[in-house]
Symmetry: C2
Subunit: 205 residues, 2 copies
Amino acid sequence: MTTPKSTNITWHHGHIDDESRTRLLGQRGCVLWFTGLSGSGKSTVARAVEAELVERRHFCAVLDGDNIRHGLNSDLGFSPEDRTENIRRIGEVAKLFADFNNIVLTAFISPYRADRDRARQTVGEERFYEIYCAADLDVCEQRDPKGLYKKARAGEIPEFTGISAPYEAPESPELVLKTGEQTLEESVQTVMDFLASKNVWPEEI
Amino acid sequence: MTTPKSTNITWHHGHIDDESRTRLLGQRGCVLWFTGLSGSGKSTVARAVEAELVERRHFCAVLDGDNIRHGLNSDLGFSPEDRTENIRRIGEVAKLFADFNNIVLTAFISPYRADRDRARQTVGEERFYEIYCAADLDVCEQRDPKGLYKKARAGEIPEFTGISAPYEAPESPELVLKTGEQTLEESVQTVMDFLASKNVWPEEI
C-alpha cells in the first residue's frame, strides 16, 4: 500500500452564512402554515400565492396532500399516531425549505393545536406564520369540492374533521383569511401584503 | 342558517406550468446524489458547491446527516429497514426540492445500489445525477475525520460501511470525483462544469 497523495491536502469547508445567503438570494425563508376545514380554500390560496410569487421570481414551495400523501408520507394512514407523524414530517420538511431560503406554503387541515405548535417550534417562532382559513363549516360543506362531506355525513368516512372529529381553531394566528366571504384574489392580496410587511424580500423594501 | 355569501364565488386556481417557472426562476430543479465511503468528501464537496452556487445567486439545498438525521429522520435507527426508509425519505424530499426548482445536493454514504436506484426513480431519471466520490478506503481511513474508522476497527461500531458492511460502488454514475487525489477546489470546479453542461441554468447559456 503506497501512501495516498492526498493525505496532506488541506480541504477548506465552503461555508456561507445566513446573512450573506439572504442578501445574495434576495429573500429569507419562512413558512406560511395554512390551517382550516376541508374546503376552506387552503390549497387554492396557497397555489395562487405560489403563482404570484413565482411571477415575481421568488422561490417558493407548496406542500399539500397532493405531493406529500402520495410521496414522503405514503407509508402513513389516518390513525391518531399517523396523523401526528404526518404533521411532524411536514414541519421538518418545511424547516428544511426555509433553511435554504424558500418561502414555504403548507396546506393541511392540521386540526390539532398541539401539532401546529410543534411545527412552529420546529420551524422557529420568528419565521412561522399561521394562517387561518376561517370559512364556516356550512360554507365548506356546501362547496364540498371533493364530495367528502357528503360521504362523511353518510358515515362512509370515520373521524372527518368538522363532522365527527374536532377542529381546534387557532387562538392567535398571525393572519386570518375570511375565505368563506372574500374572493380568492382578495385572499391572495392579503397574503402578499402580509409577506411584504414581514420583510421577506428585504432588497425590495 | 343564512345562505353564505360566498357560495357563488368562482375561485380560479392559480397555476404556473413548469416551463414558465423555470424561465422565471432562471434554473431548473435537479438532484446531485453524492455517494461514497465515510470520509470520501461527500458533504465537504456538497457544501463547497453550495457556497459557489449561492454566490452566483442560485437556490440550492444540501441534505446531509447533520440536517436529516437530527430532524426528519430522527425516528430512524440503523437497522436495514431503517436505513432503507432513511434513503427513501431523502429521495422524496430531494424530489420535492427539485419540483420547486432547487438544485439539491444529497450527501449520504447510501451504500446500496437498490436504494440509490429507487431514489433515481423517485426523482426522475432526467434530473438525477449520481456523483461518486471515489476515494479509496485507505485514504478515507487515514483521514478518519470523525474517528469512526478507528472505532469500527476496534469493533465499537457494528456494520460500518467499508469495514464490516459492504459498499456497492456505482456502476455508471453520471460523474466520478477523484476525491482521494484531487483538491477540493478541483472537485468543486468539476461539479460546476458538469452542472453547466446539463443546462441547469438555461438563461446563462
